[in-house]
Symmetry: C2
Subunit: 356 residues, 2 copies
Amino acid sequence: GSVSAVSAVSGMPPVSALELGEMIVKHIEGKKGLPGYCVGVEVVNGYLNFRVKGQLKKGKDPIHSDTKSTEGTASKATKANKSEFGSISCRAIGVFRSCFKEKYGTPRQGAVARDARGHLELYSWVPPESLEGLDGFSHVWLIFWFHKNTNKVTSAKVSAPRLNGGKVGVFASRAPHRINPIGQTLAVVEKVDISAKRVYFSGIDLIEGTPILDIKPLHPAEVISRQDVRFPSWITRPQSVFKIRWTSEATQQLKDSIESKPQTHFQDFNQMKRAISQSICLDPRTLHSKNKHAHGIFGIRLDGVEVTFETFGNIAKILKISNASNDKETETKGTRRLKGLRTKEWLERTKRELKL
Amino acid sequence: GSVSAVSAVSGMPPVSALELGEMIVKHIEGKKGLPGYCVGVEVVNGYLNFRVKGQLKKGKDPIHSDTKSTEGTASKATKANKSEFGSISCRAIGVFRSCFKEKYGTPRQGAVARDARGHLELYSWVPPESLEGLDGFSHVWLIFWFHKNTNKVTSAKVSAPRLNGGKVGVFASRAPHRINPIGQTLAVVEKVDISAKRVYFSGIDLIEGTPILDIKPLHPAEVISRQDVRFPSWITRPQSVFKIRWTSEATQQLKDSIESKPQTHFQDFNQMKRAISQSICLDPRTLHSKNKHAHGIFGIRLDGVEVTFETFGNIAKILKISNASNDKETETKGTRRLKGLRTKEWLERTKRELKL
């Protein structure tokens, strides 16, 4: 499989910059998604480009169109106009540190929890001056990599949560499972710390560890009015699914928790309480867990705490806040979760503790 | 140089999908931009990823941070959280056919000429079903590759046209010369032709031949109101620089031109006339040509015609419309232009013809 192909090369010694090296890669024919075979590799501007010939696994035609790599210089690009462009390689400029620790509980579909917080840490090779002037903007686009995708193939159509399992073309959706796993999200700039090479954001829907490819300030031409925009009927502005109720115990636990252990992303109790309410009111549950446990007990992580809540109809009641133990993820039957969260054992323990 | 490195591999015979092959690439140390040396290559989901160790050319620190490639599977991504992500490779899904034939004359800075037209042609390997449901949206984001970049290095700061040569951090700008040469633009969907795998757009600012990486429908959460947004004082919504006047000769020539030769992107005279006026009123001239020829004669291509105009103060007068001869680009002193357009000979010939 492709994993063994990775292992086969990952132990190799570094190759010098002057002789980039000899790389032998095996491709698992047809079994693992997109295109076919490589007919050339080149390095331009430090990027590794490749020419490829091949076919989309899910495509119906046996296609042998020539695809051609260009490297961003005009003469090459002009020559390539008549055939296909190959690929560009993108480097992450940094990593996103988020109050959302796993996919479960992270807002979907561009819905943003206004008080959700996170920051971007630029990598050491990115010069700090690249952030100068960014603080003049209230909003920026973060271009990121959907690094938590587990799909091995890209489908032409994807399930839209609002269509109750119905499918639409991948280009009519914002699904993470795309031909190019690039995402785009609007975030509010809270603070730009140039010397620390960090940018702090609110209203974010990115998961911990997301590789960021670019920051683009929102341009005035992108602020368009509601009446000029048309959406399909199945798309609506994200709305609260639940009314949130906090038990007095949970409220006190959140206070105690913040006092006993500083949070990474939240400074004060009220801000964090709002972020928890906002995250849960959008309904973080998966279609699967919703169907299986229409009324039930669920848990999410937000920053350094674990939040336990119960749903009844349109009410979500926050039952318990506890310090999260660690960030380790475990995998059971293809579902990854933070260690111990939402397992059978977790549920039984929680019910015992809360005497439910 | 990197071009010879390309030549060194471009003639090699295709390698089968089962043994992707042995690729030897030479890297031009330090001279050509971003990072350093390759320590591993892998193919996952048909994408070629690579691990890289190195440094940004323009960075000030000698950096040898480990960068690590992951391939979008969770276990790898989790492991990589503590070090740097390497790169992802993106494939163009198709090519953009635009009424704008060269950089000169193509709207800048996200400003869009409402009547500008173009269409996306998806490549043969992209299934047509991927477009289903797209026609329900009035606006989409096109994620594209800045393939006409000629920069060999990426700078931390870039010139902002509105700052009269002043510079801002690259992440506070929408300049095409970015660490990852990915662009994002909002376009109006005019027609989705699923069987032909074409999507027709208006209000576009993309140049002919732009490789498109993704189509993302505009999400309601991205429609924000003007009063919630803050921009630096040097950013303003793009406004007309020129009032446009058409000579009766030019108007007649446009009519004749459309009748004698069908246009690719425009159906009727009025639509095309508006697009020409919109493109010129935003001031297509470069800072250089503006300073050198404050009052002068300029030419742009739009679809199949060449437009000659003259500027006086805040007036641009459309003097002449002629059928464009061909799309060939020529290069003089680092400036690429469509063949014959805006050269000294072109200017002299134009002045003689128009008796100026």
